[in-house]
């Protein structure tokens, strides 16, 4: 899938770091926005060091950085200098969106509180994605994906039945913050087409993650029950599980949502017709019977057989299986594009196909400071001025 240009002409300053903010910028860049990632070589973005590494050394070795920042251009600025702040002013004036994920004191301390940003560009959409909020008691606390998983209530819902909460296998709140940020920015841009004015988006990542706890809070509020960990079970659907299959570490997910699906599955596992209420009562027995059966079969064939019967099922896929998956390949989900230091690099995503839209080839993530001079030129800086900025240390 080529890069679709739904957001052609939208200019974004991605002044974000680590994962959450960059993921928002990545989605906008994948959709055709002109995104400039502003960073500093004085203190490298931690994702530039994050594994996996496709080269031995240097700031351009990380494949995950390459993925988060593809289709963006890169500019290095040391905003502690007056010259760099001048560059930022011109950039803000020339952009539609400013995105950052620092604690709320950082932008004001660099001379860019919201009031000033608005003066520089009344049409600017400014998306602030702090961990906890612009005000409130935890605003200066540090947060990472895993700590927000706890702080949002998500972690308390994940784990084996009756056991302790368990961290998910990825730093989920990071990606949640990113995709929510992209949605927020686009919504605010749409409002701008009506009002002509920019907007301030406050997106505390704790709240973006807490918004995904589903019915757990209403279950407490309405029924006084604290939802805990259910393993792979569901509060209503039975069976609903991941069962061991034939082969090493092979598993299959099987779900029955209604009586007709149970009528198909039951004889295969040697059980009779049962009402939902009865299935709910006999859940442990049903799970054991299903697993005794699935353990004899390899998950692909079993899954296809169950699909033929109208039963929801799928093999548990590892990332490696996905990287080689014929279905995803047919959809163009995995795509290889050249990278200046990592060579031809395969990428996953984005998770959509868009028909009847203009497209363009993807471009690689910027090497550290790769587009600094080009972007300064676009902002009207002459060579002499650039040399002066460099001498001042503004472009590090």
């Amino acid at each position: 899938m080529k890069r679709v240009l739904l957001l052609g002409g939208i200019r974004v300053i991605d002044f974000s770091t680590a994962y959450a903010g960059p993921y928002a910028g990545k989605l906008l860049a994948d959709l055709g926005a002109a995104v400039i990632h502003v960073e500093t070589g004085d203190r490298l973005d931690i994702m530039r060091e994050y594994p996996p590494h496709g080269a031995a050394d240097g700031p351009d070795r990380s494949a995950i950085f390459a993925s988060l920042h593809r289709n963006k251009r890169g500019l290095t600025l040391n905003l502690k200098t007056a010259g760099a702040r001048g560059v930022m002013e011109r950039l803000v004036a020339a952009s539609d969106v400013l995105l950052e994920n620092f604690t709320p004191r950082v932008l004001p301390s660099l001379g860019f509180p919201w009031a000033r940003l608005q003066t520089l560009n009344p049409r600017l959409v400014y998306c602030a994605m702090p961990g906890f909020g612009a005000s409130g008691p935890h605003r200066e606390y540090r947060s990472y994906g895993p700590t927000l998983e706890g702080q949002s209530g998500l972690a308390s819902l994940t784990g084996y039945e009756g056991e302790a909460p368990l961290r998910m296998g990825c730093s989920y709140p990071d990606m949640v913050g990113g995709v929510t940020g992209a949605f927020a920015i686009l919504a605010a841009l749409r409002e701008r087409t009506r009002t002509g004015r920019g907007a301030l988006i406050e997106l505390p990542q704790q709240q973006a993650a807490a918004a995904l706890t589903g019915i757990a809070v209403s279950e407490w509020s309405l029924n006084g029950r604290v939802m805990g960990r259910l393993g792979n079970a569901h509060p209503w659907f039975v069976p609903h599980g991941i069962y061991r299959s034939a082969g090493h570490d092979r598993w299959i997910a099987i779900v029955v949502r209604d009586d007709p699906a149970w009528a198909q599955l039951a004889p295969l596992v040697g059980l009779p017709a049962m009402s939902r209420a009865e299935r709910q009562r006999r859940r442990a027995e049903i799970d054991a019977r299903i697993e005794a059966w699935t353990a004899e079969h390899e998950p692909e064939a079993l899954s296809r057989r169950l699909h033929g019967l109208g039963v929801e099922a799928y093999p548990v896929r590892t990332a490696l299986e996905l990287a080689r998956d014929p279905h995803l390949a047919a959809r163009g989900f995995i795509e290889t594009i050249p990278h200046p230091t990592l060579g031809p690099l395969p990428y996953a995503g984005p998770p959509w196909r868009v028909t009847r839209a203009e497209t363009a080839p993807h471009t690689a993530a910027p090497r550290l400071g790769e587009h600094t001079e080009v972007i300064l030129g676009e902002l009207g800086y002459g060579q002499g001025e650039m040399d002066a900025l460099r001498a001042e240390g503004a472009l590090r």
């Binding site: 957001l7 996996p52 919504a187 590892t318 996905l322 990287a323 996953a348 995503g349 839209a357």
Partner: protein
């Protein structure tokens, strides 16, 4: 004043899965007019428990109340030709048609992209399906468990010696809904900017899940390997997991030696804090079992809130593991007035989750979930269909 950036956007919602449902909630939350089309017996989630109280009731499903908030409800029997004509009339008046039906089911209802593009050139057709609309697995159906298994997230979560785990709370569906909302609003902006045609969006839940595996796909693609399940430990940072403490749990995610040392200072264990094995990340990880046993011993003497505040003061990335109950008392969420009060004529008053973001310091307003067919009359009359019971075409009920 409320934030309504999507005001004026009209969305027809044919969802039957939580991925479509949550996408519709998000669009409605931020001001879109979202109409859910329900069959005469109601959307399937009306029949899914838990319910308010013990007795199943179509207006008291917690899933329906949460995921279908913000909508208007119109009942149309799409199994009849007359109902499909009504669907066509409704489609003509909206900006976005959102559905999550597998391809065969969608075309049986007349939702073929080419036909819709011809008859409604400005329409944005968003199909948010389990495996997407093209590719060999396109007809495979599935809800959250299937897509978290198929998208690689379950294989990363849990104990390597036991079954892979589905993260709690339908996250595969949520993350798909969020990605769908992004590309839908992008398509709206593109259409309005160009004054040309709408587009057809094929959003895959499997791919949405596979897009949020942090760096697991990159390990697979670059190094041909899968990160094994870590039983809740972070694969790189240490300590990076949930720990029990007195009366609850905390979670830590430490990247540096200084942070690792501070974790032991936090619990008053000066001896381990000075242990040289903490200096190097790989060495720390190699001694994880012994070190975590020490840490758990210390943490057991303190409560989660105490550890959270003192830990943050020491520079430790630490969080409380909130239960749904303690989340309501989180001082930051309370200060930000995150939660919202909902009123429902059948379900009663309750507290629901708040919005993920605010615009210009204002929170969006979200109306309660509709009763079955509550807005049939109003919605149908808006599209010029006779809303009078006597003269209404067959196939329409309210």
């Amino acid at each position: 004043m409320t934030a309504r950036p999507l005001q004026g956007l009209r969305v027809l919602d044919l969802s039957r899965e939580l991925r479509g449902a949550y996408c519709g909630r998000l669009l409605a939350e931020y001001g879109a007019d979202v109409v859910v089309v329900e069959p005469p017996e109601g959307n399937p989630w009306r029949g899914v428990g838990p319910f308010v109280g013990e007795t199943p009731h179509p207006e008291k499903s917690l899933f329906f109340l949460h995921y279908y908030a913000g909508r208007r409800s119109v009942v149309v029997d799409l199994e009849t030709p007359q109902g499909r004509r009504v669907l066509d009339a409704l489609t003509a008046t909206v900006d976005v048609l959102l559905h999550d039906l597998p391809p065969g089911r969608a075309s049986a209802l007349g939702l073929e992209p080419d036909r819709l593009a011809e008859s409604h050139p400005r329409l944005i057709l968003a199909a948010v399906t389990a495996f997407g609309e093209v590719g060999p697995e396109r007809a495979v159906i599935g809800g959250d468990l299937v897509v978290t298994a198929a998208g690689g997230l379950a294989a990363l979560t849990g104990d390597p010696t036991r079954a892979p785990l589905r993260p709690g709370g339908d996250q595969g569906e949520h993350i798909t809904a969020l990605h769908a909302a992004v590309v839908i609003v992008a398509a709206v902006l593109a259409r309005d900017a160009s004054a040309t045609t709408g587009v057809h969006l094929d959003v895959s839940a499997q791919e949405s899940v596979a897009s949020v595996l942090e760096n697991a796909m990159e390990f697979a693609l670059l190094e041909n390997r899968t990160i094994p399940r870590q039983n809740g430990r972070h694969p790189i940072s240490w300590p990076g997991r949930v720990f029990p403490c007195d009366g609850g749990f905390v979670v830590m995610s430490c990247g540096s030696a200084a942070q690792a040392r501070a974790c032991f200072s936090l619990v008053g264990d000066a001896v381990t804090a000075a242990d040289p094995v903490l200096e190097d990340r790989d060495v720390r990880r190699a001694h994880a079992d012994r070190l975590e046993a020490r840490l758990i011993e210390g943490l057991g003497r303190f409560g989660p809130e105490d550890l959270f505040h003192r830990g943050q003061d020491l520079g430790i990335p630490i969080g409380v593991v909130h239960t749904p109950r303690s989340l309501l008392d989180d001082p930051q969420l309370v200060a930000d007035r995150f939660f919202r009060a909902m009123e429902h004529p059948d379900a009663g008053d309750y507290t629901d989750l708040g919005p993920p973001f605010r615009i210009d310091a204002t929170a969006p307003h979200l109306t309660r979930a509709p009763r079955l067919g509550e807005h049939s009359r109003a919605v149908l009359s808006e599209v010029g269909l006779d809303a009078d019971g006597r003269q209404e075409p067959a196939g329409v009920a309210h």
